[in-house]
Symmetry: C2
Subunit: 214 residues, 2 copies
């Protein structure tokens, strides 16, 4: 079906999409092979087993995330600009490919210990910078004294990934469901209001707040 790149790359792309949509157990090697346009044993040749393909897909996702982290943290300046840059980049990463958040959530549910180990190895080196930024803000009086830095960062991450993986379905509980952009705009507002002691000096962080009644 697809004809761009080598088989390995095309297989990783197809498997990411299929695993994210139907899950690992809900996706047969045959389905991946057909999407790539090769015979099933070809995938075994490239990845060893179906589980090998799974690992390669997860590593590719975390590798891309990891490779964007330094750029985010380095390019940021100080204060709220740094905050907005980091939050915006986090949202953009998962928004760039709608399969990323779904795949990540599925892997956490299916293989918590494997993902935990990957998080420790790939993400843990960067988190002291984030925690240090919050702690410094608190020491300087810009951040609320009650903020629990690690827990606050986790809630932001969980809310962002959760919104992009399950948000459109959860929104169906409302008669006039807010779309993902509106949910993420409110998330940015919530994050800012719960972190900083004073309101933003300039314009709202992203989209303006909208009335809830239709």
């Amino acid at each position: 079906m697809e004809d761009h790149g080598d088989v390995r790359t095309r297989a990783l792309e197809a498997a990411t999409r299929l695993f994210a949509t139907a899950g690992f157990d809900g996706t047969s090697l045959q389905a991946v092979a057909e999407a790539v346009g090769v015979a099933r044993p070809t995938l075994v040749y490239h990845f060893g087993t179906k589980d090998g393909l799974r690992d390669a897909v997860l590593d590719r996702l975390l590798g891309r995330w990891q490779s964007e982290l330094p750029a985010i943290l380095a390019a940021a300046t100080t204060g709220k600009d740094r905050f907005r840059g980091a939050v915006g980049a986090l949202l953009d990463f998962f928004r760039a490919d709608p399969h990323r958040a779904r795949l990540l959530v599925r892997e956490i549910l299916d293989r918590p210990e494997v993902v935990r180990a990957r998080f420790e190895r790939h993400l843990r080196p960067w988190t002291p910078l984030l925690v240090g930024y919050v702690d410094r803000g608190r020491a300087e009086g810009r951040v609320h004294a009650q903020v629990d830095a690690e827990a606050w960062i986790l809630q932001l991450l969980v809310a962002a990934v959760g919104t992009l993986s399950t948000g459109t379905v959860a929104a169906a509980m409302f008669a006039d469901p807010p779309d993902v952009d509106r949910q993420l705009a409110e998330l940015v507002r919530i994050a800012e209001a719960s972190l900083f002691r004073v309101r933003g000096d300039a314009t709202p962080p992203s989209a303006p707040a909208r009335r809830s009644s239709a």
Copy 2:
């Protein structure tokens, strides 16, 4: 294995646990039958197909949720007490059975349209009360003017379910991972700080905020 209740009830309990842990496609009917202590065709007799069992498991979860909603909303009083009662009851519902949040997330990922239809039927009737409460608070000056009621409620729900389904794994990105209670305490603080214009008058909503450094 289990010997309490009739086969149907025991099957729903076992399937909830197995589906939440390994997923629907990762759980064989045989595995459910063995957990219940019956032969596989017995489950087919009771639920028609494996998909029938899946529907029964989802309906049972949403039914329990729905049956707790009126009690929450009715027992609450006004202002922050009402807010704390509703948020606390939401968290308690998913905390009471750790499989509930995982099962719900899996079903949203696997069958978005099915869950969307269930949400519209079971949850939508109650959401105007929640939105109305936020809107009233804003009109009376207790709630921030920028709050997007529907999006704010969704973010609270997504963060709560996300924390209870994937939080312990995500926390592994920190050298000293906050446990679920600490994550939920911060979530309550975030919710309150992002909703109300003035800080709580009495004690913090749940556990006191803890320092982030070990």
